[in-house]
């Protein structure tokens, strides 16, 4: 049997190691752009810490009230109450601080994803070549196991929050790019023609017609980006990001069922609240 299998398996003589080239590329980047990565590290750190400071500055009861009011205003009284209870429960479990950490990382990642994703999405909507180039890249970014990003992230940015943000951005930007591009391409033909027929410049057509028309879909993309960023919370804790994910990792190491459940359910609650609130915001933009 063994011999037979050997006969039909791929010949060992022909070998190709693509990973080697990626490694070489990463090494080359490190060698030549260390200053750039250091600067980037500082910027990301600065954003995360400021958001974290801002969030910690809000007293816990006000925070809960805020969530309640948002839920009430955007959806319904019951929803507001539900969200408030969920966030309250996270506090009761004793994971308030960790939640703030996680939230800071997620918010930073999402903001940067939007800043990167929307312009790329707009360009690829106009440029078929760019779109054709991006499609497999985006597919790859989303299907590549998210752990894999941790390795270059660590090499570029060391351990801690910054590589976590980097890996999260790589993982969660694709839907933002994709849906922005799709939304702009789907602006009805006559509407775009009308914009140009009245003498709009490309910028005016984009800002006054195409983007407002695309907004509901772009917001749906942002919602997806946020959810993907949330799902990276645990993964990125493997390289030392603090927050709710860290507790999950510890719980796994200790096989601590209670702790695992507590931090797990906190992540779920946080995800639900963020998802519903961003969904409601994107609904506000619908006008068709």
């Amino acid at each position: 049997m063994q011999v037979k299998l050997k006969k039909h398996s791929f010949p060992e003589l022909i070998k190709f190691d693509p990973g080697m080239y990626i490694e070489a590329l990463v090494d080359w980047l490190i060698l030549n752009f260390q200053g750039f990565f250091d600067a980037l590290t500082d910027v990301i750190k600065w954003i995360v810490f400021n958001i974290q400071d801002g969030l910690s500055f809000i007293p816990w009861f006000l925070f809960i009230l805020l969530i309640f009011l948002l839920g009430w205003k955007l959806k319904s009284f019951q929803s507001g109450l539900g969200y408030a209870m969920m966030i309250m429960l996270i506090g009761l479990i004793g994971l308030w601080e960790d939640m703030i950490f996680t939230l800071a990382i997620v918010i930073t990642s999402v903001i940067l994803s939007i800043i990167i994703g929307i312009p790329i999405g707009i360009f690829s909507a106009y440029n078929q070549k760019l779109e054709a180039l991006l499609k497999p890249l985006l597919d790859g970014m989303q299907t590549m196991p998210s752990f894999v990003y941790l390795i270059p992230a660590m090499i570029f940015f060391g351990l801690g929050t910054v590589p976590a943000v980097f890996a999260t951005i790589v993982y969660s930007t694709p839907p933002c790019i994709r849906l922005t591009s799709l939304a702009i391409q789907r602006v009805p033909k006559e509407m775009r023609e009308a914009a140009y027929a009245f003498g709009s410049s490309r910028w005016q057509a984009l800002v006054k017609v195409e983007l407002p028309q695309a907004m509901p879909t772009i917001m749906a993309g942002i919602n997806q980006t946020t959810m993907l960023a949330m799902s990276m919370v645990v993964t990125s804790s493997m390289i030392g990001a603090k927050g709710l994910g860290e507790n999950v990792i510890i719980a796994i190491n200790r096989t601590d069922i209670a702790m695992g459940f507590n931090s797990g359910i906190s992540i779920v609650f946080l995800a639900i609240i963020i998802d519903r609130l961003t969904q409601m915001i994107s609904k506000k933009y619908e006008h068709v």
Binding site: P188, E190, M191, E193, A194, A195, Y196, A197, F198, G199, S200, S201, Q204, K208, V209, P212, Q213, M215, H287, V288
Partner: protein
Amino acid sequence: MSKKIEVKNLYKIFGSKPKLALKRLKEGWTKEKILKTTGQTVGVNNASFTVDEGEFFVIMGLSGSGKSTLIRCLNLLNRPTAGEILIDGEDIVKYDRQQLREFRQNKVAMVFQNFGLFTHRTVLGNVEYGLEIRNINKDKRKQIALEALESVGLKGWEDKMPTELSGGMQQRVGLARALANNPDILLMDEPFSALDPLIRRDMQIELLEIQSKLKKTIIFITHDINEAFKLGDRVAVMKDGKIVQQGTPEEILNNPSNEYIEDFVKSIDRTKVIKAKNIMKRPNALVSIKDGVRVAIREMQTNHISSVFVVGENMQLEGIVTIDDCVEAIKNKQSSLKALLRHDYYKTTEDEYIENLLENATKSRYPIVVVNDENKLLGIIVRTSILSGLLPYNSN
């Protein structure tokens, strides 16, 4: 009248190798053969026409005939493959980006088949759009936009969203948006095709009213021959990207240049094209109000009719008298016609379509009388002339 638009040998070919297709086309290949062998789609094939200032020019053709492609060349939404488009003597095809924007902002506006309204803006925001692009200040553009909305009968609707409006009202917004820019030229791409027939008729009438006030140069696309002939001062018929005939509705109706147009013309409802003036006759018999009853009786007897119109000085219409009344009057030794005048006939103007006369023609005992604004008698229409007017290809 001065020439406003002059299109010379215009070609538009869609695809990656338009020059090749153009060469083949000039060698005499058909549209189908070019599509098969080169994969290029011929949209417009050697179109030439002139439109005068203030003229209502209709381009008619079935779907796929290239009419929408052609109208989009006139504001360069489609860039022509070859040919010239002179507007006020300038070739717009040669414009650079900035000149083109200025041209679109100032000279030409477009109305779309499916309205092309911005659904994220209010009705007012839509009408203001062209002015906003031109950086006209807020108060001024609001004022202009409100006036434009009022002119299309949408006063009070400015804060609604377009999707809250019916189709007819949405197209009024589209029209107001185009008018607000005060363009010389209005391009209308099947503007009423998406509307139901009743609304369409109202919109056609309103457009004609607006046109009689504003005297824009209008290029109007339609696939409906009734609409084309009703609205157009002149009509161009397109087929397979070519203009196969152009002329006034009467010219085309009476002298279709080929089978394709003949088929088109057959489908037309002639009652909507032919006007009272086309079928009215000069009355054989007429009496003056100063004449006596006996003169009237003699007029009727010699012409074998039972009633006759009575006119005063300068052909002013006074009324109608019947033979029975006259005979009765003779018996009673009355001689003046004044006492016998009847007024239960139907009066119309010379520009009325016979569509609107049919019912009265069948109801009334007397011929329909055609008068001008000063009540001067111009002619009469008897039932038989309406019927013969409806026959195709008569040369009235």
